[in-house]
């Protein structure tokens, strides 16, 4: 029972990472789509401005997932 608790924690953590990353990316996408709809001329600039924080967010999520993987592998 106690021996498999780390799996429970890892699965829970993975779900929470996905929730957080999805919320973040959803907000980015919504804001980008709205601002492109408002100003189609500035689409390139808006995409450029959204890209960088998007990748940083992705990096944080990926690092958290590596942590989860380590929990499972190393126990």
């Amino acid at each position: 029972m106690v021996g498999s608790l780390h799996f429970f924690g890892a699965a829970l953590g993975l779900g929470m990472i996905v929730i957080g990353a999805a919320l973040g990316i959803g907000k980015f996408a919504a804001a980008a789509a709205e601002s492109i709809a408002r100003q189609p001329n500035a689409a390139d600039k808006i995409t450029g401005a959204v890209n960088l924080p998007l990748f940083l967010l992705e990096g944080v999520a990926i690092i958290a997932e590596v942590g989860v993987l380590l929990i499972v592998l190393l126990k």
Partner: protein, 310 residues
């Protein structure tokens, strides 16, 4: 990849050991230090054996070096400098990197200094990522299984463990990120001088208690940036492999749970293979995006060192 699992299950059929999905996946993703392709002696306590990631790294490096050098040399020998054939594609990549990655971040003055480095990183990472999607060594395994029929520990069997992405290894991406780390310091030093670059890390003219807090944070940030680059690239590449392998492992898990091979094959045909194919398609995008992200962030960090307006 499929073959490796098939190979594993063949073993499982001989000895009644149950199929272990986790072990199979880790064996495929990890560097397989226990059975390297070429055994080399230890030098100064470091194992110099050529493992599958090392082999792929060298293959990709040699491929990129040869293809790009030959193309550019041939282009430069022409009477009129008009690109043709493959040079067109290469030129498009070079222009894309220079105009939309390096120039906006680094600034007009330093474009020609930093484009070569960023361009090299981009092309190398792109090729190293993409080669994992090409099933060359799986085909070799098929040939071995039906035609060559070499022994259990032959060179060909060793080669079959190849065909992985070298950038899925954290050591490789750590080395690439170290180059970026060095480039950031060199960029700052070239633009402002060595001492000023370090002074630029923190804003000037604040009350002294803030510096006690700020200097450790900035020093930490200096190391976090290449660390994030390392993790992002390697974890993305490994993640794709793990997702595909997990889906394909379901075939064997289902077959074992029901005790019939037909259940596994049916599940594979209906669920596993279509989903794995879809993820492979997604991987093509990931391969491009990750190469782009690594170079974009490198350019941004180099630009931040150059334009330190503190």
């Amino acid at each position: 990849m499929i073959q490796e699992i098939a190979h594993q299950t063949e073993h499982a059929a001989e000895a009644p050991a149950p199929f272990d999905a986790g072990k199979t996946i880790i064996e495929h993703v990890s560097n397989a230090k226990d059975h390297p392709i070429v055994h080399l002696p230890h030098l100064m306590g470091i194992d110099f054996s050529v493992t599958k990631h090392v082999m792929m790294l060298w293959l990709v490096a040699a491929f990129v070096f040869l293809v790009v050098t030959v193309t550019v040399r041939r282009y430069l020998k022409q009477e009129q400098l008009v690109p043709f054939g493959f040079m067109n594609g290469l030129e498009a990549v070079v222009e894309f990197i220079r105009d939309s990655i390096v120039a906006p971040n680094v600034g007009r003055r330093w474009v020609n200094t930093w484009t070569p480095l960023v361009l090299t990183l981009f092309i190398f990472i792109l090729c190293a990522n993409a080669v994992g999607l090409v099933p060359i060594f799986e085909l070799l395994g098929l040939l071995d299984h039906w035609v060559l029929r070499t022994g259990e520990h032959s060179f060909v069997k060793g080669l079959m463990h190849g065909g992985t992405t070298a950038t899925a290894n954290f050591n490789v991406t750590a080395a690439l990120a170290t180059i970026t780390f060095g480039a950031i310091i060199v960029a700052g030093s070239k633009a402002h001088g060595f001492v000023t670059h370090w002074k630029n890390l923190v804003p000037h003219g604040l009350a002294w208690p803030i510096y006690i807090l700020l200097i450790p944070i900035e020093i930490l940030g200096m190391f976090v940036r290449p660390f994030a680059l390392t993790m992002r690239l390697a974890a993305n590449m490994t993640g794709g492999h793990i997702a595909i392998l997990t889906l394909l492992s379901l075939v064997f898990i289902f077959a074992q749970m029901s005790g019939r091979a037909l259940v596994g094959i049916g599940f594979g045909a209906v669920v596993s293979v279509p989903l794995a194919a879809a993820i492979s398609g997604l991987e093509i995008i990931v391969v491009l995006v990750q190469a782009y992200v690594f170079t974009l962030l490198s350019a941004v960090f180099i630009g931040m060192a150059i334009h330190a307006h503190h």
